[in-house]
Amino acid sequence: MTKICLIDSNIWFFAYTAPKSNEYAEIHKKSSQFLESILLNNTIIIGISFYQIAEIMELLRKRNLSKELRNKIFQSFKREKFHIIPLNMNHLELSFNKSLASNIHIYDYLVALPLKDMVTEIYSADDHFQHPDFKEIAPVTNPLHPWILREGRIPVHPVRNSVTR
């Protein structure tokens, strides 16, 4: 039976870019290995919204992934492995209202809410996704555990007690 999962943008970002420091190399390695395992699993389809495709493309542009490779990734999203979900005004309004209530980035909601009633698993290393708003969409697993990622911040490894900024 085929399942549909959501892979958060930070996992795509750390899979296709690498940190210089060995201290953080494990994040890239885990992201890359996890993404490859999902890509090779023929029983899993990746659900992805219009918004998330744009977000991934923008994150990879900022970290200088070449135009050619970004274009190949974009074209791959149109293949059978992916189930692309358009955004509508309801998604936007619901995301806005939930963001108002929780103070979590509206963009996190725009990644997840369009896939409600469709995905059976969410993979994210962002601790925002541990909020009930996201867990009610589908169970949330952090494939980079124990690393925690959050937009705009240095990744945190609780066991190593890494610096947070």
């Binding site: 940190p19 970290r63 190949k72 059978e80 705009g152």
Partner: protein
């Protein structure tokens, strides 16, 4: 002479993929051989580029740059 054709099973009926040169109501014998599901092949093909890029040279940055650029609204 036996002929091998492809067919798809839908709504309880086997539908041939091409026109058959036989009379209406002609009885035939069938040997059913399951084909590999097309979707599996397509899924593998559709991710080849994504996997090749994962294994190729990728941009390397400081963790500070990566953290800054992991947020979509900061430039």
């Amino acid at each position: 002479m036996p002929k091998i054709i492809e067919a798809i099973y839908e709504d309880g009926v086997l539908k041939p993929s091409e026109k058959l040169d036989i009379e209406e109501h002609q009885n035939v014998e069938l040997i059913i051989k399951l084909k590999r599901r097309k979707r599996s092949t397509d899924l593998s093909n559709s991710v080849r580029d994504l996997i090749e890029i994962l294994h190729g040279p990728l941009p390397v940055s400081s963790i500070e740059e990566m953290a800054r650029d992991s947020e979509v609204d900061i430039d």
